[in-house]
């Protein structure tokens, strides 16, 4: 699918940080010194550039991605993954926020989501980017801030992955039963 996953970011952009650097950050974020960074602790540590709290839904998505033990938070080992994930997204965001406004507008979003390697049959219509912004823009600016941008990409990625699983001939069409449809969508919305 044609959008950037942080895992496609070229390796030289993010050299692995050293452990003591990460440990310092971890300790600062883990305010109650529980050894696990919770949703609220991570939320407080992140900035979306708008002086409003980081999107809690995005925080939950990120934590659940790296929390291997279903404990509702991340330990130090898992935190390394979180740190890299967020740093990669910061790079992507900065890369597409061409006018450096701190927000990604409809055109910049379109660029970000239709980067290289786009499959012809997986295009999104132009008007749809308005719908995307409408749905994810919590600041009501008609543009997406960093946290909402991540959330948008995460949801789009999940939907595309599930669509692709059913699109066996890769022609951009699927035929599904009612139950398959429910199972595809209810896991994500």
């Amino acid at each position: 699918m044609a959008y950037h996953s942080p895992y496609r970011a070229p390796p030289h952009i993010n050299a692995p940080p050293d452990q003591s650097f990460l440990w310092n950050i971890f300790q600062r974020v883990d305010k109650d010194r529980s050894g696990v960074i919770s949703d609220s602790e991570l939320q407080q540590a992140l900035s979306n550039g708008t002086w409003t709290p980081f999107n809690p839904v995005t925080v939950r998505s990120i934590i659940s991605m790296f929390d291997r033990e279903n404990k509702g938070g991340v330990n130090f080992n898992e935190f390394a993954g979180v740190w890299k994930y967020i740093t990669d997204w910061q790079n992507i965001f900065r890369n597409y926020d061409r006018d450096n406004s701190g927000f990604i507008d409809k055109n910049e979003l379109k660029q970000a989501l239709t980067g290289f390697g786009e499959q012809q049959s997986y295009r999104l219509s132009d008007q749809f980017y308005c719908t995307l912004i409408e749905k994810f823009d919590r600041q009501r600016k008609g543009q997406v801030a960093f946290d909402d941008f991540i959330q948008c990409c995460i949801v789009l990625q999940r939907l595309t992955d599930v669509f692709r699983r059913y699109d066996t001939d890769q022609d951009g069409w699927i035929q599904v039963s009612y139950e398959q449809y429910l199972s595809m969508v209810f896991n994500i919305v």
């Binding site: 219509s125 749809f128 995307l132 035929q175 039963s177 009612y178 209810f186 994500i188």
Partner: protein
């Protein structure tokens, strides 16, 4: 619906409607209510009864279900429709909440939801729904409403594309994404 200019009609039938009182208490000059106004309105109307008031997210969902003019808000006519639907769902829910705990157990939910969908729901489909909307095997009224709204919307979208009525629908990628994002 017979009402024009929701909230602006002078001496119209709308103003004698008891629902109009709840509606106009929160609607602004534009005669439309947004998600947080809807939340306030429903809470004050007591429609939830002894159940916890609706979350903002559920209110947003309810608006998207009935918002015909894509305004992200409800006019009075749409609000009345919502009221009727909600009351129906509340009665269904209450009939299964026999111990008045405010939550319905998984098994009972199956019966409640099965009557909503236009298709027969298999045990697997019910499992999917249960997993998504219940916590520890129980579902609150707010989550039940959320479930009903989404199921209704998804089923309608699916039916529109099941032109041969075989229980199979075709989706193009762009369409699939849009439909799901609209919920």
């Amino acid at each position: 619906m017979a009402f024009q200019g929701y909230g602006a009609a002078p001496g119209g039938v709308a103003q004698q409607d008891p629902l109009y009182g709840y509606f106009s208490a929160v609607a602004g000059q534009d005669g439309q209510i947004s998600a947080d106004e809807l939340q306030s309105c429903l809470t004050h109307s007591g429609i939830s009864g002894s159940y916890k008031p609706f979350s903002l997210e559920t209110c947003r969902l309810m608006i998207s279900m009935l918002d015909r003019d894509m305004s992200n808000s409800l006019g009075f006519a749409e609000f009345k429709d919502l009221w009727q639907v909600l009351n129906g769902w509340k009665m269904t829910f209450a009939s299964y909440d026999r111990d008045r705990s405010g939550t319905v157990e998984g098994q009972e939910l199956q019966h409640a939801v099965a009557s909503m969908a236009g298709y027969n729901l298999s045990p697997q489909a019910m499992n999917i729904i249960m997993k998504r909307f219940s916590s520890h095997g129980r579902i609150t009224f707010d989550d039940f409403v959320s479930c009903c709204v989404k199921l209704r919307a998804l089923t309608a979208q699916f039916q529109r594309r099941d032109t041969t009525r075989t229980g199979n629908a075709s989706f193009q990628y762009d369409d699939f994404i849009q439909v799901t994002m609209a919920i």
